[in-house]
Symmetry: C2
């Protein structure tokens, strides 16, 4: 038994082989026919040829699209210049038949919206074979990069009593019987009866716990699911998504940016090297210029510029902004686009106004900004965000008080600053945001196997 991948990567011509897979297409004529077989190990299909000299001709001709088969035969050079080889069918076994209502027939091109409704079948299509293979390869590249650089992979908790950075709305997790609660009019819920004895929810970040491990291992990363209960129905929001959150002790903002740049290039390079056929497909049918875009990123030098200097450039630009840029304020999508075009490459925007950034970011000596950074990438906007973390107990404590963040519940996080708390930095990257960039597929629902969005929790 061989994988179709082996056929494309080895030399099996004139060998007798046996393969197993599913029929993507079947074109039959009176005296011969062609079957396109995929087995999921490789993006391309294997062409199988048969004719009426085969004693099973009748049965073969009846094979339906979607069916699973085992095929034996000889691999021969193809007369078709579009492919190197094809399989002359000798024997076959029908492993699993396919009913006529199979939605992935060869005719017609189903919409992505329709394919979301049959998310359990869509990885059998060309588009999603490519997308989810790339998802897997990119995940591996991330683990490989961090492992090579001696990071410790940390699984931070998903169920948590703290609401992280206040970065988003939280799903509540409970074992209380809601129907019982509904029937008994009471003043307030008694959380001592809940599973954890208190109110808990799903984590919006693993950063804070990640910091505790960075101050023990020097370099750590997380790679796990995170959750947001925001009621937003956009192409870039999902309620459940995966994040990568590295954290490095003895590392300042400059060091942080070095790692962000190196890691991103490593992952993009890995996908370019290991998903050639998939990227060629996406380059032809989803985003023209995709491969060139990725290659340029790998070979570019990322610009590093202060937020205030970006505002200056935007103000001086001869553009009629929908949102006029302003010192001390956030920047809009149109600004992100302009600035990456201005520098013709990726741009780190750093030292942001402290009032629009999170409480844990290191306060700069100007009293106005924090050592935060966003990476803006051509054609993708913000791809990662990071910061040096405030290591001064006093500054952090005061900032938390200012923002009404509980210093009691977060005493462990504060204590990190009292117990050998050194300079440290980290960043976060939304994995699906990276995938949108890598594949050119522009809807987050199409880069997550089973996406969860408001009102949608199928399969």
């Amino acid at each position: 038994m061989v994988d179709i991948k082996q056929l494309f990567e080895g030399n099996y011509i004139d060998s007798n082989i046996e393969v197993q897979g599913w029929i993507r297409n079947h074109r039959k004529q009176a005296h011969f026919g062609f079957i396109d077989l995929f087995d999921g190990t490789y993006f391309k299909t294997l062409q199988i040829v048969y004719d009426d000299t085969n004693s099973n001709f009748e049965d073969i001709s009846k094979l339906k699209i979607g069916s699973a088969i085992t095929v034996k035969g000889k691999l021969v050079k193809s007369l078709n210049p579009k492919q190197d080889f094809e399989l002359n069918l000798e024997e076959f076994i029908l492993e699993g038949n396919c009913d006529d209502d199979y939605p992935l027939q060869a005719k017609g091109r189903p919409t992505r919206e329709f394919l979301r409704e049959i998310a359990y079948l869509r990885p059998r299509t060309n588009l999603f074979q490519a997308v989810f293979r790339i998802r897997s390869l990119a995940a591996y590249a991330i683990h490989e990069y961090f492992n090579k650089n001696n990071y410790v992979y940390v699984h931070t908790p998903l169920i948590t009593a703290n609401d992280g950075e206040g970065a988003g709305q939280v799903f509540q997790v409970t074992t209380l019987d809601l129907d019982k609660i509904a029937k008994n009019k009471v003043d307030a819920i008694d959380y001592s009866k809940d599973f954890f004895g208190k109110k808990v929810g799903l984590a919006v970040t693993g950063q804070l716990e990640g910091e505790t491990y960075a101050l023990a291992y020097k370099r750590i990363y997380t790679f796990g699911p995170t959750f947001r209960a925001e009621n937003s129905n956009t192409k870039t929001h999902a309620s459940e998504f995966w994040m990568i959150e590295p954290e490095m002790a003895f590392c300042d903002l400059e060091g942080d940016m070095d790692i962000m740049e190196e890691m991103l290039k490593y992952v993009v390079k890995y996908v370019l090297d290991n998903a050639k056929v998939e990227l060629e497909f996406l380059n032809s049918f989803v985003e023209k210029g995709l491969i060139e875009k990725l290659e340029r990123l790998v070979n570019s030098n990322f610009v590093r510029i202060d937020h205030k200097d970006v505002i200056k450039i935007l103000k001086e630009a001869n553009v009629n902004w929908e949102f006029p840029p302003e010192y001390g304020e956030d920047i809009a999508k149109e600004h992100e686009k302009y600035i990456t075009e201005y520098f013709n490459g990726p741009v780190f925007i750093k030292n942001w106004p402290k009032d629009i950034k999170a409480f844990y970011m290191k306060q700069n000596s100007d009293g106005e900004t924090v050592a935060a950074v966003d990476l803006e990438v051509p054609g993708a906007g913000e791809l990662m965000g990071g910061s040096q973390r405030e290591e001064s107990y006093e500054k952090l404590y005061n900032r938390m008080k200012e923002l009404n963040i509980s210093t009691d519940e977060m005493d462990w996080y504060l204590n990190l600053r009292r117990f050998g708390g050194c300079k440290h930095s980290g960043f976060g990257m939304g994995f699906e945001r990276l995938l949108i960039y890598l594949t050119g597929v522009d809807n987050i629902r199409d880069v997550i196997p089973y996406p969860r969005t408001p009102g949608n929790c199928d399969f």
Copy 2:
């Protein structure tokens, strides 16, 4: 700047170096002193030597355990036969001081129970440095094994409306305001107002979704968190843990066992090769014979035996069982132990009575058993469980009806059998169970960074 790991793996003797880390121990005399520095990149500490010829002698002497420092000096051969080298301190910078109430002082050995209460500091101890480094390495080995063998890594959903295999109690996930519900006496909760428009919970398995991807990619695996809301306070139960669930199309139970055995050996071998120092520590202080146990596993052949033949052996054994073994019934911990000792190695117990196994397992032709397998390992008990999946629509449908599992909500899972559903198999491995085996640490709370158990959700 170098990592302490580099010092142990390269040759830096007689070089001037600069390192950063935390003080684990500090022994000071009148005219000289020793500092043990760890930086988390390597298990062993670097010994730093200083004396009163140094102009900063006073300040150095005052450095507290737990503090973060930068140190410059010359690496020299050590006179102490226990170590190859030490650092002659020339300059230092105090990066982060440590308050006197730091709980990890050199004196006394804190209990594991106490260390759980300061879970944010425990990775700085020898024991947990070893455990969580091994956790990271084992995770990487798993990804590497599957990537090498061309599996697709699939992120199955965590929030789900189906309760999986009925394998455990489910945490509910909601955005409804429980306090409001409590105050308004109503007949039942209106889930159309909940975030997803229906009642949802946290996944207990990713297998069912995994199967849908196996039937598109031939070989897939999941590696992600799973949740159980069971109120059990044992050493082996946690409410949140990580699972690995591979799934292979065109693979029967024998093939499944081949992969289980190969993967487990790969991971154990990887940890033996890459965590030598950590394992030596655990071998000395946690489980005598740990390394030998792991090496034996890698070199053993796993026995494969039917459940009924295991019962026969147990019945014939001259043992006064607490739970008498019986055909058609599950086996107890004492039986697991006996059978691995009987065969003096790992044992696959296969073809289990169908009534004690899950609905999706392939029904054997005897009408009594299913093609399920558990792997029993000496000193660990059940480490993995797997099965061939029922590929017949009719048999699966009837079994679900028998067990009152909703065939409507699970129509997509059933449909897999109508649309080229072929023979396929898979297995599950609890990651923490593997870690308990790999480290000798016997409590699941000590192999998870921030464990969640009934009543415990700190940090």
